[in-house]
Every structure is written in structure tokens, then in C-alpha cells.
Symmetry: C2
Subunit: 115 residues, 2 copies
Amino acid sequence: MELTLAVSRLSALAHEGRLSVFRLLVQAGVLGLAAGEIARRLEVLPNTLSANLNVLAHAGLIRSRRQGRSIIYTANFDHMRDLLGFLVEDCCGGSPEICSPLAEVLRAACCAPQA
Amino acid sequence: MELTLAVSRLSALAHEGRLSVFRLLVQAGVLGLAAGEIARRLEVLPNTLSANLNVLAHAGLIRSRRQGRSIIYTANFDHMRDLLGFLVEDCCGGSPEICSPLAEVLRAACCAPQA
DNA sequence: TCCATATTTCCATGCTACTGGAAATATACG
DNA sequence: CGTATATTTCCAGTAGCATGGAAATATGGA
């Protein structure tokens, strides 16, 4: 991943409203949520939400699809993964005792199998 | 982790100069790098670097220690781990097939053992 | 003590992003 | 076709952040 792309994604997330939206969509998984539903849950103005969704979408962190009158938003997990990978690229300078717990956190916070 | 804390850390990273510094320190591992060495490698003005280091330190992403005339900066891997964990918290809505590759990326990009 | 190195602080300018109200667009339904 | 719902676009005022020059502080060595 390119540096500027990572910056634009981090910038998109570096905002209380947008980070809340993104985490909500991450938790919602593949089904996603309609814009109105997000606005209701987070209690934000629809125009503010729209702007924030636009920033997240432009950064490639979320996708949208129309469904009737609603527009459903979902997290883009592939791009999220790339971003996390970029942050830890070539990390630790050869100290696996630092790096291992870094990998462990995803297994813990995530619904990934307990393998 | 609190939302506002995560935002402040993401904000600190959402900047080309600071992200470059942070990744450099992540790669440097526990030994860290002196401010001057960072400035030399990234070719930035010392005052600009100082401001950026200050932002990263204030966000808890890096630590500093004096060593002679130099000040050595190191990444704060614990806080980095917390941030990554916050982003993926309760993720995927019960879809391990999405979450597993998310965890996998750390094993791949990182020096963690191939266990 | 004097000087060189290392890093930080101060400061002024310009730019970019956030906010919320109001209007506009798009879809669905009777 | 007219109305209700869902979402977006437009706009203007405000505030916070980045930048780079110059000076200040701190440590080490002669």
C-alpha cells in the first residue's frame, strides 16, 4: 500500500463520528446497515452522516449498494486488512516477543476461530 | 479503549510525515532511533520532526529516552496493539471467513513466529 | 569556560476540515 | 400524479493544523 493511501484512510478514521460509523459497520459484517439506521443508532444529523459516509467511501473503507429507498453501507474488510498490514509492515526489528501479542489481539477481538 | 483516545491516535498517524516516522520506529523495534537519525533518513527539517514526534508521543504511540546528547524514540507497541484491537472489536458479525484473513495479515507482515 | 552538536520552542501565515441549516434529488407507494 | 421517506448536495461561518524560519535550551568535549 502506498503511503498517501494509508494516510487518507487513517484520516478518514481519525474522526469521532466516522470512527463510530466504521466500527458499527465492522461489527455489522457483510450485511451492513442502511444510512438511516446508522443515523438513528448514532444519533447524528443525516447530512453530517452523509458527509462522513462519503469520506469513508472515498477512502475505500466502506462500500454502498442501493436497496429500495435505502442505501446499505458495508465495511470493506479487504482494504481494512491492507491498512492494518501496512501499519505493522516489517515490524519489530526481529523481536518476535513484541510481534506475537500484536497478532494475538486480532484473534482475541475478532470472531476468528480459536485455532 | 475509549473512542476519543483512538481518534487522537489515528489523527497522529493520519499525516504523511508522522506515519513515516511511526513506521520507521515500528521497524526499528525496541532499540529505537535518535531524532537526528530519523530526520536524516526521512529528510525532514528538525523542527518539523520535533513537532511530529511530539504529536506521536502525546498520543502515546511512541516513547522517548535521553541518551547523551541524543533523544531516542521507540514505538509503543502495547498502545499500537490496543489501537488495532479497537478497530476490529466485535468485528464481522459472526463471519469468521472474513475475520481470519484479518488476523492472518499480522502473521504475514510481522516477524511473528510461523506457528 | 567556550564551542559544537542535538533537539526543542516560538511565531506568523495559509490552508483545510468540521458543523448545521435549508434545499434538492431519488425511490416507493396509493 | 402527488405525497412520504431516504439520502445527498449546497453553503457560509468557524476553528484547528501544517509549515518553515529563527532563536532558545541542553548536553558533551576541548
